[in-house]
C-alpha cells in the first residue's frame, strides 16, 4: 500500500505540473495583415497626343467581405482612339498604403495581366512591357478603342509563380474584375 501512496503522490505532482493551463487566449490577439491583399485597382487611360488622363478604379479598402467595395467605376472612352493604358494596384488597408504595382514589377516573371473586352470589337489591347523571360506583363500597354458600344472589360492579374509561359492558363487569379465599358 505504501508504494501506492507514493505513486499517487507522484501522480498528483506530475498532474499538477503537466496539466496546469492558465493561459488566456485574449492576451495574444494581434492584428495581422494579409500578405497578398490588393484593395485598389486603377486603370489609367492616357489619350495619345493629349495630356488627358481618364482614371477608373475599383476600391474595397477593407478587403474581401466586411464593407462592400466603396468604388467600382464604369469605364467611359472615346471611339476609335488610341490610349496608353497603365495600371496601379494598391493595398490601402495598410497605413501608409502599399504600392502593389511596384511589387508586381519586381516579380514580373510570376505575373501576367490580361485584358479581355466583350464584345471583342470594343477594344484592342497591345502589351507594352516584357519580363526577363520576354513574356508580356501588362502593367503598361496600348488600348485602341473601336466603334461606339457597351460591354465589359475583364481585367485579370494572373499569379503564375514558376509556371508563367506567356499564356493565361497557369496559376490563379489575384485580380478578376469586370469593369463596365462604354465607348461613345
Amino acid at each position: 500500500m505504501k508504494i501506492n501512496q507514493k505513486l499517487t503522490l507522484a501522480l498528483l505532482l506530475f498532474t499538477a505540473l503537466t496539466f496546469t493551463q492558465c493561459k488566456d487566449a485574449g492576451e495574444d490577439v494581434e492584428p495581422d495583415d494579409e500578405n497578398e491583399l490588393i484593395t485598389t485597382v486603377t486603370l489609367k487611360f492616357a489619350e495619345k497626343g493629349t495630356t488627358t488622363v481618364n482614371s477608373f478604379s475599383y476600391k474595397d479598402t477593407d478587403g474581401d467581405g466586411g464593407n462592400a467595395p466603396v468604388q467600382f467605376d464604369a469605364i467611359l472612352l472615346k471611339p476609335n482612339t488610341a490610349y496608353t493604358l497603365t495600371v496601379e494596384m494598391k493595398d490601402e488597408s495598410k497605413t501608409p498604403a502599399e504600392d502593389v504595382t511596384e511589387e508586381i514589377q519586381e516579380k514580373a516573371e510570376e505575373h501576367l495581366l490580361i485584358y479581355t473586352p466583350a464584345p471583342a470589337t470594343l477594344l484592342t489591347y497591345t502589351y507594352g512591357d516584357k519580363d526577363a523571360n520576354n513574356f508580356n506583363i501588362g502593367l503598361k500597354g496600348e488600348a485602341l478603342t473601336g466603334a461606339a458600344g457597351t460591354g465589359v472589360l475583364k481585367v485579370q492579374l494572373r499569379h503564375q509563380p514558376g509556371t508563367k509561359n506567356g499564356s493565361a492558363a497557369p496559376g490563379s487569379d489575384d485580380v478578376n474584375l469586370d469593369f463596365t465599358l462604354t465607348i461613345k
Binding site: N4, L11, F14, D24, A25, D64, P161, A169, D173, N176
Partner: protein, 788 residues
C-alpha cells in the same frame, strides 16, 4: 441466460437463410462437425476482471453455435466438457463487461504423434480477462482488429475505417482523409484516442485526425448519437482508437511492420517493443514509433503535383498494477507534413470553371518526394495519466487526466510579394490549440448481479491561439459534463438508460477594424439514452437504442468571414447560432452462425438546428471577382439509412461477404436535399482460404469489388459541377502467416487496390472538380513479431 435448443436454432437459421439468399440456400443444409467418438476434449479456465484480477462470478461461457453454455463458479472457474476436435468460438459475457470472444482450435494436426498426451493436446486452458465495457451496449459497435486491421496497415485512420458499413471518408485529394459516420463528420464525429477525446482543429474539412493507427490494436466505431457517455460532438458516432493492454509482467516482445505502396512510392516502417520488468512486479511498458514517407500520387493518367507526405510518430507507455490499484502513463507525438496539390488553390470562380471545363488539372508534374507550398505541418502531442482503484466490494474509481497540444501550420501557395517577408518562409496560418481534459468515473458494483452502472464528471479546458491570415478567432473554452448510466440485465434482456448535463463557456477574441473585440457564449444541454438488447439465442440478438447528443457551434461557424480558396466560395459565420441537437434511433439484428453471419441495422437521426452553409441569393463581389456567398445557417435535418453486412461461408474454404451502406439526408425546413452526403455503396468480397502448408498458416486470397452509386440527392443548382458518376473498383488481396519458430512469426500480405487502374471521382473528395482519384496501388506488407 437461456439458450434455445439446437433444433430451434436450426429452424431460425433456415428461416433467415431463405429470407436472404432465397433459392441459393434451399439446397444448402447445415453440416456440423461430424460426431466423433473421440469427443474427449475440454476447455477450462478462469474468468477474471482485467484490472483487479478478481475472479468474475456468474459469467456465462458458451460455445458459439452450440447449445452448451456454463456459468463460472464462485472462484470464476468454468469447464466445458465432451467437445469433439474442431474449431470453436468461445464467448464469455456478463453484465457490465464487454463480451469476449476467442477462437479455439481443438484439432491438433499432431494427435497421433502425441497420443500419450492426447488429453493435454486437446485441453485448452483459456484464462479470460474481461474488460468492463465503456460503450453503450445497445448501440451497434463495429470493430476492426486482427487480420482485418493488419490489412489496413500503412493507411491513415479514416482510410483504415472505410471497410466498415456506414463509414466513409471525406477527402482532400488522396493524402487527407476524415472519417464520416452515417453521413456526418468533422465536429459531428468524436474520436476517442486511447480514452481521451481528440481535440484538434476538427472543423476544417482538410484537417485530418492527428492519430497514428499503428498505436491501436483495435479500431471501433460506435454508430449513432452517444452524447451521454462521450459528451458533446458525438452526434454521428464515436471512433475508438484502442491500444492493447500493457504487457504487465510479460516477457519482452517486439513487432516490426514494413509496408510499401507502389502509388506515391510510399514506405512505412513501424516498430513496437514492450514487456514487463523482471525486478518490479506489476510493471509494464511499451515504446512504439512509425515513419512514413510518400511522394506524388498518381491517378490513372497523370501525377498530382506536390501530394507527398512525411510522417514521424512515436508513443511511450508505462503502467503499474498492484491488486486493485492501477496507473497508466501515456505519451504520444504525431508529426506530419502533407503536401497539398498545387492546383487546388482557386483564385476566382473563373479559375474553377476553367479547370472543370478542362477535365483535368492544368498543372502537370512527374514523380517527386519533395513537398513544396501549399502544405500543412501538424504536430499533436498527447500526455495522459490514468489511474484507477478497484475496491474490495466491487466498486471502481477511475481518473483520467490528459493534455493535448495541437500545432497546425499551413503554408499557402503564394508567399508574400514582399521579399523580406517571403524569405522568412513563415506559415500563412498558425493554430495552437491546447486542451486539458479530466474525467472521473465511478463504477458501482453490480447490484444483485443485475444492475451495473457508472457516474462520471468530465471537464475540458481549452485555448486556441492563431496567427497569420485572419480566419478564426482566438478563444478560451471551458466545458463540464456530468453523466449517469445504468445497465440492467435479466435473462436474455439487457436494458440501458442514461442522462447527462453539459455546460460550456466560450470566450472569443478577435480583431475587427484594428480593435480587439471579445464575445462571450454560454451553451448548455441535457442528453439522454435509452436502449435494449435481446439475445434470442447464442447466435441471434437484436438491439434498439434511442440516444441524443449535442454540439455547440464551433468558432469557424460563428466567425468565418472570407473566401475559402479550396471551395471557391465566400463563407460567413453567424455569432447567433445555437447548439444543434440530435435524436438518433438505431436498431439492429445480428446473427452469428457457424457459416452465416449477418447484421442488419437501420437508423433515423433527426438533427434539430443542424448548422450548414446556406447559399445566399446574391454573390459577394471581391477583387477576385464575385464569389457564391454562403452563410452558416440552421435547419432541421434528417439522416436515415440502412447498413447491412453479411458473410457466408458457403463451402468450408470459401467465404462470400457483402457490405451495404444506404443513406438519405434531407433538409426538413427547406424541403431540400443536403450537400456533401456520401453516395450509397455496396462492397462485395470473395475469399478463399488455403489449407495450412508447412508452417504457412491462415493463407488466403480474396477479390473484392466496391460499387459506389452516383449521389443523385443534391439540391438543384447548388454546385459548380454535378456529382461525379458512379464507379466500380476492384481489389485483390492475399496473405499468410508464417511461423518461423515458437517465438518468431512473420505475417505477410499483398494488396492491389484499383486493380484495373480505373479513373473515377468521389463526391466527397474536394478535388472531384478537377482531379481523378488514385490509380492502381500495389502494396506489400510484412509484420515480424518476436515473443508475444
Amino acid at each position: 441466460m437461456s439458450f434455445s435448443g439446437f433444433s430451434s436454432a436450426k429452424t431460425k437459421y433456415n428461416l433467415f437463410s431463405k429470407l436472404i439468399f432465397g433459392l441459393l440456400m434451399t439446397a444448402f443444409s447445415i453440416s456440423v462437425f461430424g460426431q466423433n467418438s473421440n469427443c474427449a476434449c475440454f476447455v477450462k479456465g478462469i474468468v477474471r476482471d482485467k484490472h483487479s484480477s478478481q475472479p468474475v462470478v456468474g459469467a456465462t461461457v458458451l460455445i458459439i453455435g452450440q447449445n452448451s453454455g456454463v456459468f463460472t463458479d464462485e472462484k470464476g472457474r468454468y469447464e466445458l466438457r465432451n467437445l469433439c476436435p474442431g474449431t470453436y468460438t468461445l464467448e464469455c459475457r456478463i453484465v457490465g463487461y464487454n463480451s469476449f470472444r476467442q477462437t479455439l482450435d481443438l484439432t491438433s494436426g499432431h494427435i497421433e504423434d502425441f497420443s500419450l498426451q492426447e488429453q493435454e493436446i486437446h485441453l485448452k486452458d483459456v484464462e479470460i480477462t474481461a474488460h468492463r465495457s465503456q460503450e453503450p451496449s445497445s448501440q451497434p459497435l463495429s470493430t476492426i482488429s486482427g487480420n482485418e486491421l493488419e490489412n489496413t496497415r500503412g493507411r491513415s485512420l479514416a482510410e483504415s475505417l472505410k471497410g466498415l458499413p456506414g463509414v466513409t471518408s471525406l477527402q482532400t485529394g488522396s493524402s487527407i482523409s476524415k472519417p464520416v459516420i452515417h453521413g456526418l463528420h468533422s465536429n459531428r464525429v468524436l474520436i476517442m484516442n486511447n480514452g481521451v477525446r481528440q481535440e484538434g482543429q476538427q472543423w476544417g474539412s482538410e484537417h485530418a485526425p492527428e492519430i497514428d493507427p499503428f498505436i491501436a490494436t483495435r479500431l471501433s466505431v460506435v454508430k449513432g448519437a452517444a452524447g451521454v457517455r462521450y459528451g458533446s460532438d458525438a452526434i454521428g458516432g464515436v471512433i475508438l482508437v484502442e491500444p492493447e493492454e500493457l504487457p504487465f509482467d510479460k516477457p519482452l516482445s517486439s513487432e516490426l511492420n514494413t509496408v510499401g505502396f507502389s502509388n506515391g512510392r510510399q514506405g512505412v516502417l513501424s516498430g513496437t517493443v514492450q514487456g514487463g520488468i523482471k525486478m518490479l512486479k506489476g510493471f509494464g511498458w511499451r515504446a512504439q514509433g512509425t515513419i512514413k514517407k510518400s511522394g506524388n500520387i498518381r491517378t490513372p493518367d497523370y501525377y498530382l503535383d506536390n501530394t507527398g507526405t512525411n510522417e514521424k510518430n512515436f508513443s511511450l507507455a508505462a503502467g503499474y498494477r498492484n491488486k486493485g490499484f492501477g496507473i497508466d502513463l501515456f505519451y504520444s507525438r504525431f508529426d506530419t507534413k502533407i503536401g497539398i496539390f498545387s492546383g487546388s488553390h482557386i483564385g476566382s470562380v473563373t479559375d474553377l470553371l476553367n479547370v472543370i471545363r478542362n477535365g483535368e488539372p492544368f498543372i502537370k508534374s512527374g514523380f517527386s518526394y519533395a513537398i513544396a507550398r501549399p502544405n500543412q505541418n501538424v504536430t499533436h502531442d498527447l500526455i495522459k495519466a490514468e489511474t484507477h482503484y478497484h475496491f474490495q466490494n466491487g466498486n471502481k474509481l477511475q481518473w483520467t487526466a490528459a493534455r493535448q497540444i495541437n500545432n497546425r501550420n499551413e503554408y499557402d501557395l503564394h508567399r508574400s510579394r514582399n521579399d523580406s517577408i517571403a524569405a522568412l518562409n513563415h506559415p500563412e496560418l498558425t493554430f495552437k490549440l491546447s486542451t486539458l481534459t479530466n474525467d472521473v468515473v465511478w463504477d458501482h458494483k453490480p447490484i444483485a448481479g443485475k444492475l451495473a452502472g457508472q457516474v462520471g464528471v468530465s471537464t475540458l479546458y481549452q485555448y486556441n491561439l492563431m496567427s497569420g491570415r485572419p480566419l478564426i478567432p482566438n478563444f478560451n473554452q471551458f466545458n463540464v459534463g456530468i453523466f449517469w448510466m445504468e445497465r440492467y440485465v435479466r435473462n436474455s434482456w439487457e436494458l440501458e438508460a442514461g442522462v447527462r448535463y453539459d455546460y460550456r463557456k466560450l470566450k472569443t477574441y478577435r480583431i475587427v477594424s484594428k480593435e480587439k473585440l471579445a464575445d462571450d457564449f454560454n451553451f448548455k444541454n441535457f442528453s439522454g439514452t435509452l436502449g435494449a438488447t435481446k439475445n434470442f439465442s447464442g447466435r441471434l440478438s437484436a438491439r434498439l437504442n434511442v440516444g441524443t447528443a449535442w454540439r455547440a457551434p464551433n468558432v469557424s461557424e460563428l466567425f468565418s468571414d472570407g473566401v475559402h480558396h479550396g471551395a471557391a466560395a465566400y463563407e460567413k459565420g453567424d455569432a447567433s447560432l445555437q447548439p444543434e441537437t440530435a435524436i438518433n434511433t438505431i436498431g439492429s439484428v445480428k446473427y452469428a452462425g457457424e457459416r452465416l453471419t449477418f447484421e442488419v441495422g437501420g437508423y433515423y437521426n433527426f438533427i434539430s438546428d443542424y448548422i450548414y452553409l446556406k447559399p445566399q441569393p446574391e454573390p459577394i463581389l471581391t477583387i477576385r471577382g464575385s464569389f457564391p456567398y454562403f452563410k452558416y445557417t440552421q435547419t432541421d435535418a434528417t439522416f436515415k439509412g440502412v447498413d447491412v453486412s453479411a458473410s457466408w461461408k458457403f463451402v468450408k474454404t470459401t467465404t462470400f461477404s457483402s457490405k451495404l451502406s444506404y443513406l438519405q439526408a434531407y433538409d426538413r425546413r427547406n424541403d431540400n436535399y443536403l450537400v456533401m452526403i456520401p453516395a450509397n455503396r455496396i462492397d462485395n468480397q470473395l475469399k478463399y482460404d488455403l489449407p495450412d502448408f508447412g508452417n504457412w498458416h491462415q493463407t488466403y486470397i480474396s477479390a473484392g469489388n466496391l460499387f459506389v452509386a452516383r449521389q443523385k440527392r443534391v439540391p438543384p443548382e447548388s454546385d459548380f459541377a454535378p456529382p461525379p458518376k458512379a464507379y466500380s473498383i476492384w481489389t485483390v488481396q492475399a496473405g499468410s502467416s508464417i511461423r518461423l519458430s515458437n517465438k518468431h512469426q512473420l505475417e505477410t500480405g499483398i494488396t492491389v487496390q484499383n486493380l484495373f487502374n480505373t479513373a473515377y471521382r468521389d463526391y466527397l473528395n474536394r478535388f472531384r472538380y478537377y482531379a481523378d482519384e488514385m490509380g492502381r496501388n500495389i502494396s506489400v506488407r510484412f509484420k515480424y513479431s518476436f515473443g508475444a
